[in-house]
Symmetry: C2
Subunit: 168 residues, 2 copies
C-alpha cells in the first residue's frame, strides 16, 4: 500500500498526485457507466432522478423538484417537456394555485420508473462486486465527507437527505 499518496513519475518538477483528480476521473467513469446502464433501460440520469423524486414524494412544485434533481427550473422544464412528449408525465394546474404545475407519472411513466429502478439496482450490484458491506459503509461515509468538503460554502447537495436515508 506504499503506492498511495505517491508522486507522478517523470514530471520535471515533481508534485503530489491530486486525489481530487483521481476522484473526479473515477467519478466520471462511474457516471458514464451509470448513464450507459440507464440508457440501455431507455432513460438518462436526469430522467431517472426526476422519476425517483416523483415517486419518493410528490414535490409541491417544480422549483422543489428541480432542487431535488439538482438542476435549474428552466432545465427541469426542458426535461419535463421531453418526458411529457414521451408520455411519461402529465402536468396539470393546481386548482388552488393556478400558477403551480402538478407533475404526475402516467402509466408509461410508472413503467419507465420500474425499468430504470431495476437498471439502477443491477448497476449497483455490478458496482458492489467484491466489496463487503463494511467496505460499502466506509465508502458511503467517505463519500459523504467528500461531498460535504466539495460543497463547502455551497448548499448541501439535494440528495444528501436521501443518502442519510433514515432507515426504519
Amino acid at each position: 500500500m506504499s503506492m498511495l499518496g505517491g508522486r507522478l513519475a517523470g514530471v520535471p518538477a515533481p508534485f503530489p498526485l491530486p486525489v481530487g483528480l483521481r476522484l473526479a476521473q473515477t467519478a466520471r467513469a462511474v457516471e458514464r457507466a451509470f448513464d450507459e446502464a440507464l440508457g440501455e433501460a431507455g432513460g438518462t440520469l436526469p430522467v431517472w432522478l426526476i422519476l425517483l423524486n416523483l415517486k419518493l414524494s410528490k414535490p409541491a412544485n417544480q422549483r422543489e423538484l428541480a432542487e431535488a434533481v439538482g438542476v435549474r427550473e428552466a432545465t427541469l422544464t426542458h426535461h419535463l417537456n421531453a418526458m411529457d412528449a414521451r408520455g411519461l408525465v402529465t402536468r396539470t394546474r393546481d386548482a388552488a394555485n393556478r400558477r403551480v404545475q402538478v407533475v404526475a407519472l402516467t402509466e408509461a411513466g410508472e413503467a419507465a420508473f420500474v425499468r430504470l429502478r431495476d437498471a439502477a439496482l443491477a448497476f449497483d450490484a455490478r458496482l458492489r462486486a467484491g466489496l463487503a458491506d463494511a467496505d460499502l459503509a466506509t465508502l458511503t461515509t467517505l463519500l459523504g465527507h467528500l461531498a460535504a468538503n466539495a460543497g463547502a460554502g455551497e448548499a448541501a447537495p439535494p440528495w444528501a437527505s436521501l443518502a442519510e436515508g433514515r432507515a426504519e
Copy 2:
C-alpha cells in the same frame, strides 16, 4: 452506523437505496466543484487534463493524447483549437511524418498549467479536510475497485496508470 444500507423512507414499495445513485451523485457534486475550481483558475477539466498529459509525457500523436484525456480525436481537436486560439499550445507538423501534429505548450500554456495545477492542489486540500491518510488510502482503493467494476467489459480508464502512480 445502522443507517447504512437502509431503505428509502416513504416509498410505496420500499426498495434498497442504490449505492450507485449515491455514488453517481457524489461524483457529480465533486466533479462540478472541481470544474468550478478549475474555472476560477481559467480552465476546465479537459483543458487541465490536456495540459497535464502534455507535461507528463510528450504523447507521440494526438490519438494517444486523446486516449489519455478520455475523449475522441475530433473532440480533442475541438479543445486544441480553442487552446491554440488562446495561445496555450502550438501544433507543428512532424518533419519525419508530416501527418503528425506535434502539440507543444507555449509559455502561456506553461503558466496556465501552473495555475491549474495549483487550483487542483488547492481543491485537493479542501477535499481532504478532516480525512486521515489512511482514509484516503482506503478511498483510493475503493474507488479503484468501483472504477474497475464500472468499466467491466470496457477498456480500463486511460488514467488508471496515473492512479497507480508508481511512487519512487
